[in-house]
Amino acid sequence: MDPAAVRETLRAFIAKTLIRDAAYPLGDAEPIITAGLIDSFSLAELAVFVERQWGVDIPDPELTVERMNTLDQIVARVLAG
């Protein structure tokens, strides 16, 4: 997987589908859960998207604010496989 491509694909998905604002300028280290931009259900949507897109299964216990609060964290988890 190309890390840069993963990052941009995730950035676009989070902005368009989860935040519902395709033009939202999502930063790499910007908190998305603690800032209220997405909620628990969005994490489930994210996990399903990642599985469909790259075949990476992120187990439910990992869908937490501690582990998935920023684009950096999410990209790192996807790249870890």
Binding site: T17, D39, S40, F41, E45, D60, P61
Partner: protein, 444 residues
């Protein structure tokens, strides 16, 4: 044993702390003290109930390898059976719900699931698991605990640090004051309103329901504070269960502040897995519908967890619809409401729901809602003799629950005036002890 009674506060808790800390440096002995204390605490519920708690703990221990899922299914089926047969259930004969069943079964189920998901390692000894399952501060009404959070605190400390001791004492005082000085007198004051609901008008209905909202909060959070304080005296930090819920900005925010450990339990073990499973099988364009369905289903199950009566199920459905509606509105970004109005609307929505929780029959809930709408006049009904005091109390409690009063009272640091307030609360609480009424959440 009641957590706000003489026997617990002046005998059981000090004696257990003494024995626990006397066994410091010997973790197995400390765990044995905890298990024995838990069993002694629970024994007052009766031998059959005690045996059930022991049996469920043993089943979890024995089923930790091969029979894990079967044990989990058995525990949940048992809980459902008791709920269906419980008082006020859907037309089935009333059977008393064992004390704390909903809480200790959920703890054991979360343990089983976390071990299966490799989120936590299995207990290395039956004593360790027993300490968790029978932990007396939480066994009767939570807060719900995760074994992964509990185990590192088990037998790990040889001395109690001053900050934790301070936390424990302050929470005990605050919890006692909430229960004895607010929840119990308030409950007694509003009971005539609900008892005579058929004759009550708008003023009486609003006072009754507002009073019930504060009674429920101060009763349950008071219990939680005593549980947190008791655990702290043994060196354990429990998770918070409330965070100013009546100051919530919207209904989703409310459920992130009310009975937080239960909300988190359902989020982790039901809502998230259910959402993922449904999303995988659905068109991505229909995610809003999936979200609504999952929210409503989860909240109905939460209602059922409280009891299998129509009122709990209706209350769960009501909150599920509110949450689903709020999610839609929030995603559309169509509405901007000032914070004060948002708080007031949220509190109003919660109040309407509390009517369901307080009404044993649909007719009573309907009559109370009608009265709140002014369809039966403005009368105070049975609340007339104490309406002035009750009104002032409700206003004062509205202020207290919307300001960070509680967190400031128990916050570490220099005290000054706070010491005098806490001392006053303690003295008044001690003077009010004597005829303990059960905590409202014991019925669940």
């Amino acid at each position: 044993m009641s957590l706000h009674g003489h026997a617990y506060l002046f005998l059981f808790l000090p004696l257990t702390c003494l024995l626990y800390w006397a066994a410091a440096r010997r973790p197995a002995l400390q765990q044995a003290v905890l298990v024995l204390a838990g069993l002694a605490f629970y024994a007052e519920a009766g031998l059959p109930q005690l045996l059930l708690l022991v049996a469920m703990t043993l089943a979890t221990w024995l089923g930790r390898r091969q029979l894990g899922l079967a044990v989990l299914a058995l525990q949940l089926a048992l809980l459902a059976a008791f709920k269906l047969a419980g008082p006020g259930a859907l037309g089935i004969a009333a059977v008393a719900l064992p004390l704390g069943l909903s809480f200790y079964i959920f703890n054991l189920v979360s343990y089983g699931l976390d071990v299966r998901r490799r989120q936590t390692a299995p207990a290395s000894s039956l004593l360790g698991l027993g300490s968790y399952a029978t932990f007396f501060p939480t066994v009767s009404s939570g807060p719900l605990l995760r074994f992964g959070d509990f185990r590192p605190q088990l037998g790990g400390r040889t001395t109690l640090d001053a900050a934790l001791l301070e936390t424990g004492v302050l929470h005990l005082i605050l919890g006692l004051a909430k229960k004895l000085l607010v929840a119990d007198p308030l409950g007694a004051a509003i009971d005539p309103g609900f008892a005579g609901y058929e004759t009550i008008g708008a003023a009486g209905a609003w006072l009754s329901v507002l009073g019930y909202a504060y009674q429920l909060y101060f009763d349950f959070s008071g219990y939680t504070d005593i549980a947190i304080g008791s655990a702290a005296l043994l060196g354990f930090r429990l998770p918070p269960n409330f965070n100013a819920p009546y100051a919530a900005l919207h209904i989703t925010d409310f459920w992130q502040r009310w009975h937080m450990t239960m909300s988190q339990w359902f989020r982790d073990y039901l809502f998230l897995p259910l959402s993922r499973a449904m999303l995988k099988r659905s068109d991505p364009e229909r995610s809003d519908s999936v979200r609504s369905t999952c929210l409503v289903l989860t909240m109905i199950v939460i209602g059922f967890w409280h009891g299998a009566s129509w009122s709990f199920l209706a209350w769960g459905l009501y909150h599920g619809l509110l949450l689903a509606g709020h999610a839609r509105v929030r995603r559309l970004r169509a509405l901007t409401v000032p914070a004060w109005a948002s708080r007031a609307l949220t509190f109003l929505a919660v109040l309407v729901g509390w009517v369901l929780l307080r009404s044993p029959s649909p007719a009573m809930a309907l009559r109370l809602w009608e009265a709140m709408l002014g369809l039966h006049g403005a009368g105070l009904g049975g609340l007339a003799p104490r309406a002035g005091t009750l009104g002032l109390a409700v206003v004062a409690l509205a202020v207290v629950t919307n300001l960070p009063v509680e967190t400031r009272l128990v916050a570490p640091g220099p005290r000054g005036l706070r010491s005098w307030i806490l001392a006053g609360l303690l003295v008044l609480s001690l003077l009010s002890m004597g005829g303990p009424s059960p905590f409202l959440y014991f019925q669940f």
